[in-house]
Symmetry: D2
Subunit: 139 residues, 4 copies
């Protein structure tokens, strides 16, 4: 599990007084990017090689509302990995009181610049797999 | 089914050259708001009575990418309704060629200003139910 | 002057109950894109030729607040044009009562993919200039 | 001057490959919120007392582009303060190489829930003034 910490921005709230639900996908993305970085896979590097990573499925379950100025922690876990997809799960927790705000999941495919599905090159796959294995053993 | 039409904004794209996946939830919301409006339920009216409608669950499956300047149609259908929740399904179609870009679903609860779950007042429930029944009969 | 009409989205509001000020730049962009389209200049076409159009300066003066569900009209006028820059002015008006919500201005430069300033190719410049002249004569 | 640090999110980029210009206003806001926090003025506290702080004027000059994954530092300075307004200036600098990406300015008014202009209550004004004076003396 890789944690990332962020503070709720004013612009992320809506007229109901809480964080708009769509912003949790921005947070999941921050978590996913950090997970991959820790595995040694940088997205700008992938893009420079012409490899894209479109999202194919997402879901989120909201349990409690984040509010302006809250510190939240996004906990990201890789739960499935192959050369053609990766699935991450997320938990968003309010730092102050530990309350679970949301859980979610996203699935990425790998594609070339024309949107055609491709296999993730072996060097990137191996790095993600090593991190994935480490985490599984560690838990 | 209630259709809403929108044109992809430049700001909705990302460095992969397509619409960022989180924006589909903005579009679903536009569809949901319009569906409720056609049923005679206006969100500012609900809020003025202290009734909120937090999202509790969402999901989206992405099939093809929307691009800058595309016209897209969001087709919204109410698929489940009670006094404590409403579930909408969505299809996002590119107008130009009719390609299905995404499908999705959202669930709203009803709550008071403190976040406590409440029942939707009967006058609003009846309007949504009437629209829901009309659509079911019509299909 | 080229008008574009849009309806305030729920996600565009913030906890103060009105549209977040940053969204007016999304609306200005919609106006600018439409102005250029009417002149016969499509941004995807420019990008396909490797011409980018980074924003170098923006400003906005807010007079009154747009609220959720308001229809607003963005009125866009090209006020300065050369082969290396274009300056647009904007007025945002609430459709319902004609109240002026905001005025603003943006300046674009033209650049290649490496961010180096370039001159706008003559065919695009001529189209914008023709529209610019038409409007000036017409006013 | 109060610095805040943030990392460019993927969603903040656009199809031109850089951060969309509207996002700098989100960053300015983060800087302004932090400046006020350090002065002892919390926005949720103001709102709980029915005091709003609408933005009346903004501007931004863009010098270089922020890219995905860049760390940026937002440097915020209060440059004018009275009981009816506050003006902040900003500089956004890329941490890695110290390049100045943008400068900007924003003006807030103070208002009640109906949008009527009000004076900032003395206790909040004094805190901001103390911070403002400290900084002026210090520079």
């Amino acid at each position: 599990m890789v944690p990332v910490r962020t503070r709720v921005r004013f612009v992320e709230t809506d007229v109901m007084g809480v964080v708009h639900h769509s912003n949790y996908f921005h947070w999941f993305e921050m978590g996913r990017v950090e997970y991959m970085r820790q595995a040694g896979v940088l997205l700008p590097e992938l893009m420079a090689e012409g490899i894209l990573f479109p999202i194919s499925d997402v879901s989120c379950q909201y349990r409690a509302s984040a509010k302006f100025d809250d510190w939240v922690i996004i906990e990201t876990t890789l739960v499935d990995l192959s050369k053609v997809k990766m699935i991450f799960n997320y938990r968003v927790v309010r730092e102050d009181d530990g309350v679970l705000l949301a859980t979610g999941s996203t699935k990425n495919a790998f594609a070339d610049a024309n949107g055609k599905v491709v296999r993730l090159p072996i060097q990137y796959f191996e790095r993600l797999k090593a991190k994935f294995s480490d985490e599984t053993v560690g838990s």
